[in-house]
């Protein structure tokens, strides 16, 4: 593999395995590469290891074996590396995980001030811009509990974007939302995808996958069952397990 080719991939996952205490093997020998500006959707039944894999990518879970390289930095025991990767990788959680004692604006400001060492005025300027982008600038001074689920998730997206990450990870970002709020979050994500953000999304939202994803990975039992373009995936799936899953979910 030559240098130039390596540069194309922002995330390289090689032979990653993860077993939880108690012996449940969540991820088995997982290998994949993700290109810059690609939107990759990971699908699969619950318990298939999608979330665990995603959490391994920014070090929230530690892989037992295999290597993960993000933007040229290996995710290893080196604290500097881990910190560097966390700055480059944004994450959005199923349960939002906003800081409840801070306003929406303060949530978005915090990491800019602490990690990027920006002045408060500078951070606020950027935060307001991001909150405008996700459509909730008018709620900047509200506390998370005063926002709906969809609004909270959009604040969470703005908070992750404030770090100017190179990759965004989404861990079932709409699963905890009431149906009428799912679209407001998906729309923000679609805009992000169109702007060229590299995204790895664990989701069951087929509409979203169809519309913006470049590549789909179907996982079961900690392993890749089938991968391919969206067209391949929805029109011509090869594996029985994929077909079964799609027939259940569509």
């Amino acid at each position: 593999m030559n240098e130039k080719e390596l540069g194309d991939y922002i995330i390289t996952i090689d032979n990653v395995s993860k077993t939880f205490p108690g012996g449940i093997q969540a991820v088995k020998d997982f290998t994949a590469k993700i290109r810059r500006q690609q939107v990759v959707v990971i699908m699969g039944p619950s318990g298939s290891g999608k979330s665990t894999l995603l959490r391994c990518l920014n070090g929230l879970e530690e892989a037992d074996s295999g290597t993960i390289i993000v933007d040229g930095i290996p995710l290893d025991d080196n604290r500097e590396h881990r910190l560097e990767i966390r700055k480059e990788v944004g994450m959005v959680f199923q349960s939002f995980n906003l800081f409840p004692h801070l306003t929406a604006l303060e949530n978005v400001n915090l990491a800019q001030i602490r990690v990027r060492k920006k002045r408060k005025s500078e951070a606020t300027k950027m935060s307001m811009e991001l909150l405008r982008t996700v459509g909730i600038a008018d709620k900047a001074d509200n506390y998370p509990a005063q926002l709906s689920g969809g609004q909270q998730q959009r604040v969470a997206i703005a908070r992750a974007l404030a770090m100017m990450p190179k990759v965004m990870l989404f861990d079932e970002p709409t699963s905890a939302l009431d149906p009428e709020m799912i679209n407001e979050v998906l729309d923000v994500m679609k805009d992000l995808a169109r702007e060229g953000m590299t995204m790895v999304v664990v989701t069951h939202e087929m509409g979203f996958a169809r519309e913006v994803s470049d590549w789909v990975i179907f996982m079961d039992d900690g392993q890749i069952v089938e991968t391919g373009t969206v067209e391949h995936f929805f029109e011509n799936p090869q594996e029985d397990r994929t077909k079964l899953f799609l027939s259940q979910i569509l």
């Binding site: 944004g90 994450m91 959680f93």
Partner: protein, 278 residues
């Protein structure tokens, strides 16, 4: 710390609302007066059997005196000020010890966990009186601590052990998603504690934290055992000098109450004010 958005109502107005929200103010007032009357009656009954001669008029001079036209603190108030001083210093130190211990216990360090565990077991399972004597007579001279410093150290070590368990409980009660969100934003462990974890944890543990502060103020009375002139020691001296045993100790108890009751009231309102909406 910013509060939540709420209509602009002065704290006095809200206080008034709360205080006067009784079903019927007259009923409660009468009940309260009756209760006090019964207590006074029982006390006079018991003291008349003892043949005690009340001399309350001799007490005020131990609170305040007028000397050359200036108001001067009497012995009891001097003692109270000393109690404030020793409790304040001990509290700051106890909080530092408690927080340090809690963080070490939550960290991965094996040695750290053993040490803090040992500290907690020893301190919490021996009487404070014994610890004060040990620190004053044994540890103090060895490491060159004076009387005040020894007493502060004993109090701080004692309260620190309880505070650390309360803090630890508050910290682990937070959802782990808070840690994950902070980490995935690239916040260091220090920043995460300072900006995300502790502000939430401390709000949750305000009630037990308050009782520990009050316990510390009360426990500080034990430093009179090593002849530090706090409120309790002054009371003992005055009682021995004047034989006003009942009056002095009642007055002393009242002074402790005057300090501690407003404290818990203030915290009660703080708790409401800074409550995190969920």
């Amino acid at each position: 710390m910013k509060g939540h958005i709420r209509p602009k109502v002065s704290i006095f107005h809200r206080l008034k609302q709360r205080v006067f929200l009784f079903r019927s103010p007259w009923k409660d007032t009468i009940q309260f007066i009756l209760l006090i009357a019964v207590i006074v009656w029982l006390m006079s009954l018991s003291t008349s059997r003892l043949g005690y001669y009340w001399q309350w008029y001799r007490i005020p001079r131990y609170l305040f005196r007028i000397e050359e036209g200036r108001l001067v603190a009497g012995k009891l108030i001097q003692g109270l000020l000393f109690t404030f001083r020793i409790s304040g210093v001990s509290l700051v130190l106890a909080f530092a010890i408690g927080l340090g211990t809690a963080l070490v216990r939550l960290s991965g360090s094996f040695m750290g966990r053993i040490l803090t565990r040992g500290y907690l077991e020893v301190i919490r399972n021996t009487p404070l009186v014994v610890q004060i004597y040990l620190v004053y007579f044994v540890v103090g001279p060895i490491i060159g601590l004076g009387r005040f410093a020894s007493a502060v150290m004993a109090l701080a070590l004692f309260e620190g052990s309880y505070l650390s368990e309360i803090l630890r409980a508050g910290i682990v009660s937070l959802h782990k998603g808070q840690w994950e969100a902070a980490h995935s934003l690239g916040l260091s462990t220090f920043d995460t504690y300072r900006d995300v974890i502790l502000p939430q944890a401390i709000r949750r543990i305000l009630p037990p934290l308050t009782s520990e502060v009050i316990t510390l103020i009360k426990n500080s009375a034990l430093v009179s055992l090593v002849s530090l002139s706090d409120l309790a020691l002054q009371a003992r001296v005055i009682a021995a000098d004047t034989f006003l045993t009942f009056e002095v100790w009642f007055a002393t108890a009242a002074i402790y109450l005057v300090v501690t009751v407003p404290l818990s009231t203030v915290v009660y309102y703080m708790e409401k004010r800074f409550k995190i909406l969920t």
